[in-house]
Amino acid sequence: MKENSEEDFDSLFVENKRSGVKYIVIIIVLSVLTLTAIYAYLSVSSVRDRMKVAQVQAEGSPQINSSLLTQFKEKAWLESRIKMANGDSIGLSIDLEQRRIQLELKGVVILSSKIRDCSISGFFRKMDGNVYFAMFGTPLSIQQFKSSIAKNPFKIVEAPKDTIAAQAAADAAAKKDSLADENVFWTVKLDRGFDLDIQGIDSIAEAQKKYELGKGFEFERNLKNIASSFQHILRFSKPDYTPEILISIPENEAKAILRALPRNALVTIRI
């Protein structure tokens, strides 16, 4: 029988370490694949659950003949805007078919803007007629506002003590009149469980640049998704799924709409 030399002993040790690394590599690969598969399953089932909830909510509403869906959508769009016109507040109407976003007051269009870019969740594309009407058949109501700029900017000014102080204040105010460069994006939660995101852009290239600089709406949203995703992965729980409509319009109009809408404004949407 051959006696083990010092060199042989080391080679055995290296061999053992290599198989150890191999097992670690296999464990890592399997863990990553398992975690990914579990998270994918939970994510997809949260979308499907959301649709099932919407279908259950739609059960009570009148049945829609799918061959007349276009006509029914037109009718619902007009009915919804008329309901909105009966209120005293400014409302928002969004026509994704014609790619228009409008502010309406008492039925009169007071601002109309062409939508430059738009993306909607697959959830909306997969809706059947009944779910569509349960969701968009009547005006929606805004539940929560979040924006990158102040919704109602207001400043408090101390009255000057004499005419000299008044003149100095007037001169200072005149110098401050240059327009500040602001990134305008805002998001609202609507009462039927989805989000409406408005991004102010003056060109698609500008929007991409903003994304790179981390000042755009989508960048902020992705950052939030990262945090939320990891929390759910750690808990093995279903991630929250909220369908979204993202609309890009010129910056000054995005700002004007944000400032004009009351906090609980009504919104009418046609997809």
């Binding site: 590599v25 006509q71 009718k75 007009l78 008329i82 016109a85 039925g107 000057p160 008044a166 004007a256």
Partner: protein
């Protein structure tokens, strides 16, 4: 040993990157696509609402469209965008004039000494022209003196009356708010007023002539 370490590290990094890209991009993209809903049965769809056919729905749509159109005034009306300080003058759905204006500065003037405060903003909503006048004389309110650091005179003190400040015309739209001209033309297009809507001379004349008592002013 070092080689093994690098293999281990590379696998770990690739694994993390794969997982992160799946969680951050691939899975959300899949969620947002219609594929995530493949095979889900649609909610029960009937053969249509009772008594509805294509003609009757189209008739309803026409009726509703007419009703919606009826909300738009047929006479002249004005739309004021306070965010951009721009006004639009319409007749029916036709734009007949637009231009720059100045609106409220969104400011609260406070005077602790005098125990006084006043808010300067242009209120949103719909208003009507209540009164029209040419060559208006402005009766300066208390805030005009406080803002200038001057003592407040008595209610009918001659120093309260000013001619020319409001331009050639004014249209009162309620609660002390007016559409009028200005001597501060350099500051047009800015949010600098105490709540009134200031127009340039030519625009003011056109608006004054087009708008009647009762004409609507939509402000947002």
């Amino acid at each position: 040993m070092i080689r093994n370490f690098f293999i281990y590290l590379a696998v770990l990094i690739v694994g993390i990157l794969f997982f992160a890209s799946m969680v951050l991009f691939a899975i959300p993209a899949f969620q947002e696509s219609t594929l995530a809903l493949t095979g889900l049965s649609s909610s029960s769809s009937g053969s249509g609402e009772a008594g509805t056919d294509k003609q009757s729905i189209e008739a309803d749509v026409n009726k509703l469209q007419k009703r919606l159109d009826s909300f738009t005034p047929t006479n002249a009306y004005m739309v004021v965008n306070t965010s951009d300080n721009h006004f639009f003058l319409y007749k029916g759905k036709q734009l007949i004039r637009d231009g720059v204006c100045s609106t409220g500065k969104n400011e609260k003037l406070v005077s602790a000494e005098r125990k006084y405060e006043h808010v300067f903003y242009t209120p949103f909503g719909v208003r009507k022209v209540l009164r029209k006048a040419t060559n208006p004389v402005w009766k300066k309110p208390d805030w005009a003196f406080i803002e200038d650091g001057m003592p407040i005179p008595s209610a009918n003190d001659p120093s309260r009356w000013e001619t020319g400040t409001l331009g050639a015309y004014k249209m009162e739209i309620g609660d002390g708010y007016m559409i009028h001209g200005t001597i501060y033309k350099r500051r047009m297009g800015m949010s600098v007023t105490h709540g009134c809507i200031r127009l340039l001379d030519d625009d003011l004349e056109a608006v004054y002539k087009a708008m009647e008592v009762g004409s609507k002013v939509y402000i947002y």
